[in-house]
Amino acid sequence: MSEHSGDAMVLDTPRGSGFRLELARAVRVMVAARWPVFAVVFLGVAAIAALFGSWLSPFDPNRQNLLLRLAEPMATGPDGGTFWLGSDALGRDVFSRLLYGARVSLTVGFAAIAVGGTIGIVAGLLAGYFGGWVDDVIMRLGDIQLAFPFILLAIMFLVVLGSGVWNLILVLGVGQWVTYARIVRADTLSLREKEFVEAARALGDSTPSIIFRTILPNILAPLTVIASFNVASVILSEAALSFLGLGVPPDIPTWGSMLAESRDTLVANKWWLAVFPGVAIMLTVLSFNILGDWLRDFLDPRLRERM
């Protein structure tokens, strides 16, 4: 963590102009690197699909049409519409289902990060600030969890708790907290002794105020990098769990469950059922990975100088 941001806290510099400069620099670096622009554009499209999927989709994603089963891409659908990406074994429009799938993937991705990030940040702050047995208990808990291959933990709990969006978010979120806790703990340990924290203590600030208002704002930046990579891996896990039938209920289309359904028609070469949902997952995950890479280069001056 740079000294600079610490000083900024104490002096309480108005951040307007500096923030705008940073934003301009962010955009400049992004355009220069090219790939992050594609990532942002794709994620923008995915976000629009997630938010406005119900208006954009040409058909009801669950509307079956047994006469128009397994139609190829660009085939004519019911009411003169077009199956842009074909129809599935029940005659449902693949494109519409893909749009709805974006909603599940992005919602679960972000919500799980919010859950895991919150738990991890609080745990890391407590462990780093108080040290001693608090630190020991929290970090050993983390060790235990990491000793458990995550997918097994998720399978175990979803089997017992039952599937559903909330359980999925909970399990995927809880699966992520350790990463945040470790980083936050390390940063908190080093910040705890810094002058501006001393100053807050000398001014008589309460402990919660020191932890959450003095230390927390100064450790958030590197977490955005972790969060970006994390959304990518959560979306991958969500797809895998949905594929296994442990995701959301069957009436909600997801990319993972679409792929699971595609397996029955694979040997009949209904390739569009297997290709499009996979491409959607890949591009979404890729975008978050690229974004994470870019954020890391952008935030870490040491790496930036090497570019």
């Binding site: 000793a147 458990f148 399978i155 017992v160 896990s237 694979l266 390739w271 591009l283 890729l286 990975n289």
Partner: protein
């Protein structure tokens, strides 16, 4: 060193206890587990009788202790769908899973090291660019989709590799039948190719990036510059000075790697109808055969813990600095 080993061992014991606790609680988290064991038409009296017979009427901590007691005697309970001891069934499927995991891991490492080195020493060139781009892509492809694409491609267009099936190698090997084992080996590998690629792609991509960044970091160290300024040939600098230190982080992740691979294996086995623990777990999940799920999960987590312990202990021998740091964290 001794103190570190003792602490590391203790930590593993705590982890194993944690694993059993989680598996135990998983059974309880869904409400009264008795209902999993009785038929849907059972009367109230029958349910109550079953609850007592299975011991679910006892306080939780007593149940947990007896659960752990059973585990130490090797009793993982009866599989509900097979009506056999759960651990027997899981152990039968274990060799196939180990074959797939090892195959994917070895291939991924063997390819990742040269690719990562190639990218690092040609930093900023087209080589570096295409290798890093490919590995970024490889990290973004779900393993099971990779499997599906390969079934589509190799099953329908180029019939080069089998898209399902398994020829045992480890099972006859462990039974002492070396002749069969090694006679099987070529066909074992032949059948492992496609699932292996599906499972290993993510690892390959991740390890390539790791080798690259780890080597880049080492190449900037003073001692590498010294070696270069001494006029040593670049190859010698690379092999004798840089790679020696660059592969330390790679060793550390081998243990964790197993856990990552396992995630892929569980799902990919289902895609390829590969007769390992993953497919078994998948079937057990669908039949809500909780004892079988527990046995599978505990076994895999146990192997994972043991492997990480071994890796950490090997690491102490490789990197003397660990001793000074006291091995915390």
């Amino acid at each position: 060193m001794g103190a570190y080993i003792v602490r590391r061992l203790l930590q593993s014991v705590i982890v194993v206890i944690g694993v059993t606790l989680v598996s135990f609680l998983a059974l309880q988290a869904g409400g009264d587990p008795t209902y999993l064991f009785v038929s849907e038409r059972a009367s109230l009296e029958e349910i109550e009788a079953a609850r007592q017979a299975l011991g679910f009427d006892r306080p939780l901590h007593v149940q947990y202790l007896s659960f752990v007691g059973d585990l130490t005697r090797g009793d993982f309970g009866q599989s509900l769908s097979y009506r056999q001891p759960a651990m027997e069934i899981v152990l039968e499927a274990l060799p196939a899973t180990i074959e797939l995991t090892l195959f994917a891991m070895i291939c991924a490492l063997l390819l990742a090291i040269p690719l990562g080195v190639l990218a690092a020493i040609n930093r900023g060139t087209a080589w570096d660019g295409s290798i890093t781009t490919m590995s970024m892509l490889g990290q973004s492809i779900p393993s099971f989709w990779m499997g599906i694409m390969m079934i589509l491609f190799f099953g329908l267009y180029i019939r080069l590799f089998p898209i399902s099936g398994h020829v045992p190698f480890l099972a006859p090997l462990m039974a002492g039948d070396f002749g069969t084992a090694f006679a099987n080996l070529p066909r074992t590998i032949y059948h492992l190719v496609l699932p292996g690629i599906a499972v290993g792609t993510y690892s390959l991509a991740r390890n390539t990036r790791l080798v690259r960044s780890s080597l880049l970091e080492v190449l900037e160290q003073d001692y590498v510059r010294t070696a270069r300024s001494k006029g040593l040939p670049e190859m010698r600098v690379l092999v004798h000075h840089a790679l020696r230190n660059a592969w330390l982080p790679v060793v550390t992740i081998i243990g964790l790697e197993f856990g990552f691979l396992l995630g892929g294996v569980v799902v990919v086995e289902t895609v390829f109808s590969y007769p390992g623990i993953g497919r078994l777990l998948f079937a057990a999940i669908n039949q809500r055969d909780i004892p079988l799920v527990q046995a599978g999960v505990i076994l895999l987590a146990g192997i994972f813990t043991l492997l990480n312990l071994v890796v950490d202990l090997v690491y102490v021998r490789l990197d003397p600095r660990v001793k000074l740091a006291g091995g915390r964290g």
